[in-house]
């Protein structure tokens, strides 16, 4: 009697499946459209996707889209850039210097869990009700996760490479620049993925106070009028922004981390 040996080695390895992600989106939207058209889902529960699309087209045609989007994007860019730059610098310092680590790690741990939105009134007093407080809120929210990710990444740099650098008599600055920073890059980039997403969340929070234009202000206004179509149009803009940012970081990772096995 001879049986074929059963195959047991399949599964567990990540396999790239093209198009499935988009298919899930389309399926969900089609389902919502069908539900709302047939009256199975009431108009108060969920707006019709086609109406949301209509609102979006209207927004585009009236030129209001860019009137809202451009200030939001500039707030996001300025705030997140400030937060990320300061965060990466502080994180690298914590990773390199024992005194900085001992002094700042507890402080970072203390400010990490504070909901930054709760501090918005304080920021308004400190930086004014204009752009300043919005930049500060986004920067502050981006800062903490970036610091934590960066110093963890610096800690994880292969020690044998640093020892190699020392054994060849490389200067301290050369070791930092040519071994520590490139070695920490994967960790820093995956940290940025998280902190930039947090920046988008905080953007909306920042625009809830004293902003005439901005995606956040638009959503807030629609929400208070219970205008679900406009609310959803705003939310879709944020989602697209998130997907775009994640795509940009993915591109960056593929370029900068080509050396990774």
């Amino acid at each position: 009697m001879s049986d074929r040996v059963p195959f047991r080695g399949g599964g567990f390895a990540p396999v790239r499946v093209r198009g499935l992600g988009i298919a899930v989106f389309i399926l969900l939207i089609a389902f919502a459209e069908w539900g709302t058209q047939s009256g199975w889902i009431s108009a108060l529960t969920l707006p019709k996707p086609s109406d949301v699309l209509g609102t979006f087209v209207e927004l585009w045609n009236s030129g209001l889209l860019f009137k809202h989007l451009l200030p939001s994007l500039s707030r996001l860019a300025v705030g997140a850039t400030m937060g990320a730059i300061v965060g990466i610098s502080v994180g690298v310092m914590i990773g390199l210097f024992a005194y900085v680590r001992a002094g700042l790690v507890p402080l970072v741990a203390a400010i990490f869990p504070i909901p930054k939105i709760a501090l918005l009134p304080l920021f308004v007093i400190w930086f004014g009700i204009d752009e300043g407080s919005k930049y500060a809120l986004i920067a502050f929210g981006t800062f903490t996760p970036t610091v934590v990710a960066t110093y963890a990444a610096v800690d994880n740099v292969d020690r044998t490479l640093i020892r190699m650098g020392q054994s060849f008599g490389l200067s301290w600055w050369s070791i930092v620049r040519k071994i520590v920073l490139p070695g920490a890059m994967p960790g820093i980039l995956s940290g940025l993925r998280i902190s930039l997403t947090i920046a988008i969340i905080l953007l909306v929070a920042a625009e809830m106070l004293g902003a005439e234009y901005g995606v956040g202000a638009y959503i807030l206004e629609a929400g208070s009028l219970y205008d679900l179509e406009r609310l959803f149009a705003g939310v879709v803009i944020l989602s697209v922004l998130g997907v775009l940012l994640s795509w940009v970081i993915g591109m960056l990772e593929r370029r900068v981390l080509r050396w990774r096995v």
Binding site: T160, L161, R163, M164, S167, F168, K178, I179, P182, R258
Partner: protein, 253 residues
């Protein structure tokens, strides 16, 4: 330039790793250090290159480094220690950049040619086999024109065929331009193949048990040579009981 260990004792906390080791490393020859696992041979190498400070005794440099030497004591590591984000050429350049040399490109071209890597100058480490990675590390070490090469089990991460090929490479390099090296290994075949002098350490705390000199020129030592085989048997005789004891000791920890 010679190196000298003067009554070196080294401890980690309460544990003696090396006890009263005195040794000299003559220039132009390869000194192999063998011993059972945990006998402190890698520690000895770190002490020799100044990556660690001995608890007692001193490591001395006798004479000055040759002219044009950029890094007198240069390591070759077991795990290659190549920067994965730099190409073969970039990895060699790394150790030259700080010196601001005008002939950097020429040095790189020369060492890559000597290690037969010229065609792979633009490759990243992830594209290379283990043997090639170690050749890049050897090229990097040659680039700084070292007075003493400190080799920490350089072939232990490689398969046995690659090991044979690399040993031939090392013999070839030494025959063309003799260099000074301290070669730490647990592999006795490597020791009798590459060592002019073999230092046998006892198990922890490591002490010099015996020093064996092998007079046969490196180039004449071949794979499976009977005289070398006899030397290897002799060394194994010295180490066998110690190795067994060291193994049992680890189980008791």
């Amino acid at each position: 330039m010679d190196l000298m260990l003067n009554a070196v004792t080294h401890r980690y906390g309460e544990t003696d790793v090396l006890r009263d080791v005195s040794l000299d490393i003559p220039s132009g020859r390869i000194t192999c250090i063998v011993g059972p696992s945990g006998c402190g041979k890698s520690t000895l190498l770190r002490l020799l290159g100044g990556l660690e400070q001995p608890t007692e005794g001193a490591v001395l440099q006798v004479g000055s480094a040759p002219k044009g030497c950029l890094n007198a004591l240069t390591y070759i590591f077991q795990d290659f220690a190549l920067l994965p984000w730099r190409t073969v050429e970039g990895n060699v350049a790394l150790v030259l950049e700080d010196h601001g040399l005008s002939n950097q490109a020429a040095i790189i071209a020369d060492v890559l040619a000597r290690t037969r890597l010229t065609d792979f100058a633009g490759a990243l480490p992830k594209q290379l086999s283990g043997g090639m990675k170690q050749r890049v590390a050897i090229a990097r070490a040659l680039a700084v024109n070292p007075a003493v090469m400190l080799m920490d089990e350089p072939l232990s991460a490689l398969d046995s065929q690659t090991r044979e090929l690399l040993m031939d490479d090392l013999v070839g390099l030494w025959t063309r331009t003799p260099f000074t090296a301290v070669y730490v290994t647990h592999n006795l075949a490597e020791a009798v193949r590459l060592g002019h002098r073999i230092v046998v350490l006892s198990r922890r705390p490591g002490e010099v048990r015996e020093i064996v000199e092998i007079e046969t020129p490196l180039a004449e030592r071949a794979y499976g040579d009977a005289a070398l085989e006899a030397q290897q048997q002799h060394l194994w005789g010295l180490m066998r009981d110690e190795a067994a004891a060291a193994d049992a000791e680890l189980l008791n920890v």
